[in-house]
């Protein structure tokens, strides 16, 4: 804050210098990790970090700009991943030639019948049924709609799973799949936002984490659509795969390097476009209005701003970025595994990135995303090294070696993440590069 009130602040307090120094430090870390672990490995880390940076920008729109608490990040990443599977995975002819599409069509009709039933039940007040009776009829309509839908979808799902495995994809270009992931996320975010944005922060946190678990349960168990725990792989890349490059006569290490470099290029392009848009929105009247709503929604409302509508807008914009980011990550790893999604890796880590980087400041958030992801990745080998040394010490003392070093060292990342976030909250609550508040 001191930087904001004194524009001429020098040294560490100047936001620009601080940002430049931190980015330079991160660059050095990247180079060092690259030299230790090899170029292909650092390219892998950087590509994934780019995906996470996109997601973190999405959360920054929601939390940094608008103060909206979103714990459903994991759900949106899964939605993005599942959408890109549906659009870009090769066509499954076994499904299209079977009775599957027709049965699914019937299930869709049953679903629509259920929707009509509920909508009709909600309007019974027009014919004079109100209060408790109306509520009862609405509840009954929900129940009836659910039963009707279940009678159609259950056999369809069982049939598809037994004959064709799953629906398969449409075989379109992966980049289209990413955009589709953003679109589906936007639709889902609209409904989630409509339901839950009226809640107070703590309640919103719990509601969104509940919704994210519902999404996870659905995607994990709708085997006919997403193949569930049997996982979908290999997902096509928008750029040539290492295997394709090897076919042209490239050596194996080179092929991995160039393939990842090209993928990284596309991911960075997405990040840059998103960053420019988000940054411009922040500086414009729209961003100013959002900050006004965040800082005091009552006064913003009394100035004639549509608080709920704007918050819904923010929630949707942020979720689009999360969906795209999730789709990019799923495409990059080439496998969509619903059981691989965990709240720690896919929700809390993004929060740590935004808080440590500096909520409200896009530069800070991008820095935080790269920094935290690198810390997350290298905690494992570092811990392994420490453990191996300790193990040597204990065995030389005659206490025996430490068992299961591999699996334990992997868990060090979770602990490190916890330590980082608590330290950040205690000593740098505004983040490494805090939001610059202009006054006057």
């Amino acid at each position: 804050m001191s930087a904001a009130s004194a524009p001429l602040a020098q040294g560490w307090n100047s936001p620009l210098r601080r940002g430049l120094l931190l980015f330079a430090a991160m660059f050095i870390i990247v180079v060092v990790v690259g030299m230790v672990q090899g170029t292909a490995s650092i390219l892998l880390i950087l590509t994934q970090a780019t995906g996470f940076a996109l997601i973190a920008l999405g959360l920054n729109i929601q939390w940094g700009y608008g103060g909206l608490f979103n714990f459903a990040i994991m759900g949106f990443l899964m939605v993005g991943g599942a959408s890109t599977v549906f659009l870009s995975y090769p066509v499954n002819m076994a499904f299209w030639e079977s009775d599957g599409p027709m049965m699914l069509g019937r299930a869709l009709i049953a679903f629509l019948v259920g929707v009509v039933l509920v909508l009709a039940a909600r309007r019974v007040d027009r014919i004079g049924i109100t209060g408790k009776w109306r509520a009862t009829i609405v509840a009954l309509a929900w129940f009836a709609g659910y039963i009707i839908y279940r009678t159609q979808i259950d056999p369809a799902a069982a049939y598809i799973e037994s004959t064709a495995g799953f629906v398969g994809g449409l075989g379109l270009h992966p980049v289209l799949g990413w955009l589709f992931g953003g679109l589906v996320s936007a639709v889902i975010a609209f409904y989630i936002g409509k339901i839950s944005l009226g809640l107070r922060t703590d309640y919103l946190a719990i509601a969104t984490i509940g919704i994210s678990e519902i999404l996870r349960a659905l995607i994990k168990n709708m085997d006919w659509l997403t193949r569930g725990t049997m996982t979908v792989s290999p997902m096509p890349w928008p750029t040539p795969l290492p295997q394709q490059l090897q076919a042209t006569g490239m050596s194996i290490p080179d092929s991995f390097m160039y393939a990842r470099l090209m993928f990284l290029g596309i991911a960075v392009l997405f990040l840059v476009v998103a960053f420019v848009l988000v940054q411009r929105a922040y500086g414009g009247p729209w961003g100013r209005m959002m900050r006004a709503i965040r800082d005091n929604h009552i006064s913003a409302g009394s100035m004639g701003k549509d608080v709920t509508g704007r918050q819904l807008e923010l929630f949707i914009f942020g979720s689009i970025l999360m969906g795209i980011g999730g789709a990019i990550l799923a495409t990059f790893t080439q496998i969509f595994d619903p059981s691989g999604y965990q709240p720690i890796n896919h929700t809390f880590m993004i929060w740590v990135m935004v808080i440590v980087g500096g909520a409200g400041n896009n530069w800070g958030v991008v820095l935080g995303a790269f920094l935290i992801y690198i810390v997350w990745v290298i905690s494992d080998p570092l811990a392994q090294m420490i453990f191996l040394n300790l193990s040597q010490l204990t065995s030389s003392l005659g206490w025996g070696a430490i068992p299961e070093i591999d699996s334990r060292a992997l868990q060090m990342r979770v602990f490190v993440l916890g330590v980082v976030i608590t330290i950040a909250l205690r000593y740098a609550p505004k983040g490494l590069i805090p939001e610059v508040v202009k006054r006057g």
């Binding site: 608490f69 703590d202 509940g210 349960a217 330590v419």
Partner: protein
């Protein structure tokens, strides 16, 4: 008769088991919310931590050659409760109190509690590995009591395990003790007063710092009980309670955050809703097949929700409660 026995085994007993655990966890969550006004996400991991402390103590005791007819983890539970309460106090002092002193918003405390979650979980996995363990360290067997129902015409017995029986008794005792503490003792009344209005409580001479400490002690020790009981009923693993922290929050919210009795009711409500939703009704309604005309037999599986979606039931109830009546059924401390 067999259908009724099946119902008792599958719904009544397992629902009560789950309900006891949810209730014990939800009391802690709701008390912390009432006094400190933030959603304490690390509560699930405090339960896991309590279970692991009991596990370590039981192992130590068993190594000393002390064998008792009861499960060792249960015998050492009082000591484990005290230790967990101390750790809970330490966590508050180290991580939450400084933020409170700074006047941080409840959201910041919530995020801090996620940091604590990560640290506890990381430490537990670091020390104990991520595998599943049995808390029956001394090789004692998990006794199953079979109540023969042949006198009532049933061919199968009602099954209940020893840990489950212990759990029912302990939960009942704790609920009664908590009731007397909150309504009769000076400190309990002070706690309720502070949950209602913290400023007013402080002005009228209540030692708020002491109330905060007592809250952590109660929440920590109850978390230890719930965690140990859960570990005795299923098995001990690092994500033992992390997976059920959301149903626990659902229970606390359904009962009205800040309302201890609401948390108990909410815990049982959520647990029974979950068990009933995945219960296969055909098993109970099978005698109807004799009455129904041919070709209208009941389907083999008549569960309301597939078993995979068991936990989802809690979230759906949670979301509906938040939408329809965010203060919970007992009008909790919401603003």
């Amino acid at each position: 008769m067999d259908e009724l026995i099946f119902f008792i085994n599958r719904v009544l007993i397992s629902g009560t088991v789950l309900g006891s655990i949810y209730a014990l966890g939800a009391i802690g969550v709701t008390l912390i919310f009432g006094i400190l006004r933030f959603a304490h996400f690390a509560h699930g991991d405090m339960m896991t931590m309590g279970a692991f402390i009991a596990f370590v103590l039981a192992t130590a005791l068993a190594a000393m050659g002390i064998i008792l007819p009861l499960p060792m983890a249960f015998v050492v539970m009082p000591v484990a409760m005290v230790l967990t309460a101390f750790i809970a106090l330490g966590i508050d002092k180290g991580f939450y109190a400084p933020l409170r002193a700074r006047g941080a918003k409840p959201v910041t405390l919530l995020i801090a509690s996620i940091g604590v979650t990560l640290m506890i979980q990381g430490l537990i996995r670091l020390i104990f590995g991520s595998g599943t363990k049995s808390v029956f360290v001394a090789g004692e067997s998990k006794d199953i009591f079979r109540f023969d129902m042949s006198w009532a015409g049933g061919s199968r017995p009602i099954n209940i395990t020893e840990p489950q029986l212990i759990m029912f008794v302990v939960t009942a005792l704790i609920v009664v003790a908590l009731h007397f503490f909150l309504t009769r003792s000076r400190l309990g009344k002070a706690m309720r007063a502070m949950a209602d209005n913290a400023d007013l409580a402080q002005v009228s001479g209540i030692n708020t710092a002491l109330v905060v400490r007592v809250t952590w002690v109660i929440a920590g020790s109850l978390a230890c009980v719930a965690g140990t009981m859960l570990a005795l009923d299923v098995a001990l693993m690092p994500d033992l309670a992390f997976n059920i922290v959301l149903p626990i929050f659902a229970a606390a919210i359904v009962g009205g955050l800040g309302h201890a009795y609401g948390a108990i009711v909410g815990g049982f409500l959520i647990a029974f809703a979950e068990t009933l939703a995945v219960f296969n009704w055909t098993a109970v309604l099978r005698p109807l097949n004799a009455v129904l005309p041919d070709g209208m037999a009941l389907p083999a599986n008549l569960a309301l929700v597939p078993t995979e979606y068991k936990l989802t039931v809690a979230f759906v109830i949670l979301v509906i409660t938040l939408l329809v009546r965010p203060t919970g059924i007992f009008k909790g401390a919401s603003s």
